[in-house]
Symmetry: C2
DNA sequence: CGAGCAATATGATGGCCGTCATAGACGAAC
DNA sequence: GTTCGTCTATGACGGCCATCATATTGCTCG
């Protein structure tokens, strides 16, 4: 009974993502049926870079940070996945390890699906393939955009872009640390803190420990800022 | 007669790429049949960013530079495609414009395939999908790697990495200008020239106008340098 | 509650590298 | 041959920002 309820939950989770809109309940049921859940507490590692990929991961509840580490201990965050968002679109197709690691930054519940099950499903639904390609396209464009920004934008501007992006996704109250923002903008914690001090002086934001509140959401819109894809 | 010969050429071109190995001659023939060719002279624009994507492009002969432009006139090169390499893997699936432009840097001949024809084909051959996913995965990883390098590596090191990468792909004689190298490493022409002067002093390279010759190919191997994906 | 750790905050320093400037050399086009 | 654009080359300057250092505050956990 409780089991049926959980299945329904999973189906409702799957419906809006990846172009499953046109898919029947019965078909979604099929895929939900061979999935299982796993819980991670805040700060736990979900998978690490270099590991073989055996499962397709979708966030059911919570928030996950997908990052990549540099050889000098630097780290950049490249995806913040919330409810309904997949963590690894490429892995299930190749099974190969990639340079990604995923870490929960809240208590998180993940839906796992074996590669084969996910693939069998996608191959029967070309629209899903199309959607995945589209997402990967955005990921590539966004990464290249970030490279350009590393060249031609200074830290302050990159941080505003990050704030703007996160605002679009999470609203005006952003529960992240300066370290998180730094990893998203490709800079250091110190520079981030200095920039935030500026933003505060200008009345753009206010902040508490572990969160930043954007005071004038319209401000950044008017600057012609694009958003990253996270 | 000449027509048949050209078709055979195209089939031979298609065979080694994208996982077409297991595909029969007849099937390749099918796809080669509805393709056509187009020639571009050196420096010509093949497609520009923001354009709708109607065709799938494969380089038959020559060399193509795929780049993205920044708002301040900066430009980074993200793919150097030679014979048999595709220019736009994502476009055909979505049809949407992306932030990419392609320019021939030699006299080039391109094989074009209408989106629908390419897609119909890939959907019937899951292995092709798998291969495309794999390539896109590399592209994403490589782009993220470059972002990290922008943070933690200096210009000289990035340029060595670029030289190393190009050497793997094109051999010791690299017919590119300093501007080309700069666009690949994410820096300016001046800084590239200065770095090259250093490399020359150290006996790593010698150079003529429009080309660089790597003298000690083993040198960079021993440095533990990874290569970019271009 | 105290210990310990993470997050915030800010100053000082130094160097990488982007920018601007100038100049010569080579090649292409007419 | 002449002109012009591109490529190569190198110097001078200055500013952004990473790094190091130190201090304070707030949260968590035994």
């Amino acid at each position: 009974m409780d089991n049926i309820k959980r299945l329904d939950q999973r189906i409702e989770l799957l419906r809006p993502i990846l172009g499953f809109e046109g898919v029947t309940f019965q078909q979604l049921r099929e895929i939900a049926d061979c999935s299982f859940e796993k819980s991670y507490s805040k700060g736990e590692l979900i998978f690490d870079q270099g590991e073989k990929c055996e499962f397709f991961y979708i966030v059911m509840k919570g928030l996950v940070k997908v990052s990549i580490y540099g050889s000098s201990g630097n780290k950049i965050t490249y995806l913040l996945a919330g409810t309904g968002e997949p963590l690894n679109l490429v892995g299930p197709f190749t099974g190969n390890p990639r340079y990604l690691s995923a870490e929960s930054i809240e208590n998180t519940s993940i839906l796992l699906l074996r590669n084969e099950d996910f693939l069998a499903y996608t191959y029967r639904h070309p629209v899903v393939i199309k959607n995945i390609m589209s997402i990967l396209g955005y990921a590539i464009d966004s990464a290249n955009d970030k490279i350009l920004d590393m060249i031609e934008k200074r830290v302050e501007q990159r941080l505003i872009k990050v704030l703007h992006t996160l605002q679009k996704k999470f609203g005006q109250r952003l529960k992240f640390t300066s370290r998180d923002f730094a990893e998203l903008a490709g800079t250091t914690t110190e520079s981030t803190l200095r920039a935030m001090a500026q933003f505060r002086k200008r009345g753009m934001i206010k902040s508490n420990r572990g969160e930043i509140i954007i005071l004038d959401p319209g401000f950044m819109e008017n600057q012609g800022f694009e958003v990253y894809w996270v």
